[in-house]
Symmetry: C2
Subunit: 210 residues, 2 copies
């Protein structure tokens, strides 16, 4: 067995990875506001000062966690796009994947959704990227379905963006509605959102199918 080489930058990357992974687990359990840098440091068996060397603020750890979630979402999406599914099945899977991602995102923020919608929030930037990517994927799958004869040829060119905005709108609505005061009935909102997204995507697919 070859001996593993390990230089200092590799070590550093490993430390970072361990911190992100520990922070992610904590955020998912307790939410951003209820997690301290001390707890994260303890989780990875590191002094607080060392942790601050890697991440100067709790926000910067959070951002790293979000980027990781986002990358996993994009990987999952790529898998769906490159699968043997029909275009219809791909649309259903994309919506499912979207839902899982939203749920994870929300858990990290511990069910307080004000941060989710605060324009200055860390989420904001990444949600923008998320929507852009989603739009790209949706267009790709609709095109694919048109090319292979599953979908109508004369679908409105804005059908894809309408679908993405519709899903976005359902999320915004569901979350707004059940978070006054914060956290109230959150699981109900999320279950309803999932159900409505599923109903909508089925009707939508039939609506663009031949």
């Amino acid at each position: 067995m070859a001996q593993k080489k390990c230089n200092s930058s590799e070590k550093s990357a490993e430390k970072e990875k361990a911190i992100i992974s520990a922070a992610r687990a904590r955020f998912a359990l307790y939410g951003f506001s209820k997690v301290s840098m001390e707890e994260i440091a303890t989780d990875v068996g590191m002094g607080k000062a060392s942790l601050y060397y890697y991440f100067p603020t709790k926000e910067s750890v959070f951002q790293a966690v979000i980027i990781q979630e986002m990358n996993e979402f994009l990987d999952e999406t790529d898998k769906i796009l490159n699968s043997d599914f029909t275009a219809s099945e791909k649309l259903v899977e994309l919506v499912k994947n979207r839902f899982v991602f939203i749920q994870k995102f929300l858990n990290l923020g511990a069910l307080t959704v004000y941060s989710f919608h605060d324009p200055k929030s860390i989420y904001k930037k990444y949600l923008g990227i998320f929507e852009e990517k989603e739009l790209e994927f949706t267009h790709k799958v609709i095109k694919e379905g048109q090319n292979n004869g599953e979908f109508e040829e004369n679908i409105d060119p804005k059908a894809g963006i309408t679908l993405v905005h519709t899903l976005h709108g359902l999320r915004v609505r569901a979350i707004k509605r059940y978070t006054l005061p914060p956290g109230t009935n959150f699981p109900k909102a999320i279950n309803e959102l999932q159900e409505e997204m599923n109903i909508l995507i089925k009707i939508f697919i039939k609506g663009i199918s031949k």
Copy 2:
């Protein structure tokens, strides 16, 4: 020609009507915050004190205007429901009517949408009634379409509520998106909203049709 009888309560009702109508025109032109009670009083040729006799606050005039708009919306909706349109056409018309109503509502608030979404706002209560009514109408039309063979028999029972929430979500999303800071790009948001509502309803109808 019969002489018109006019008792004091009739006179009072007429005065009220005149005030509401004047206030409505002003709110629609300048928006709630930029209209004063003095201006409304002047419009109906009345002293400010007399106006306060009918409506003790600007909010109470605004509420009366909103109730009037709402009643007109419900009348319009009833006309659509009782028309000879097919169920599909009725759904399209309901969405059109909804859009007109939202636009009027927004104009009254002068394009500041914060009030529209403020849970304590006057709008809030009526938007709730609005959504309830809309749900009722949508269910009715879907049922009608199922009975007359236009729509599938096995549509998900929650398709109607999903449609209403979807339209609501699109509105919330569009308005949120383009009102930071208030008023920014408002016409663009409204045009986009209208376009997306139209695309969505067409795909939706095809998606539930036989």
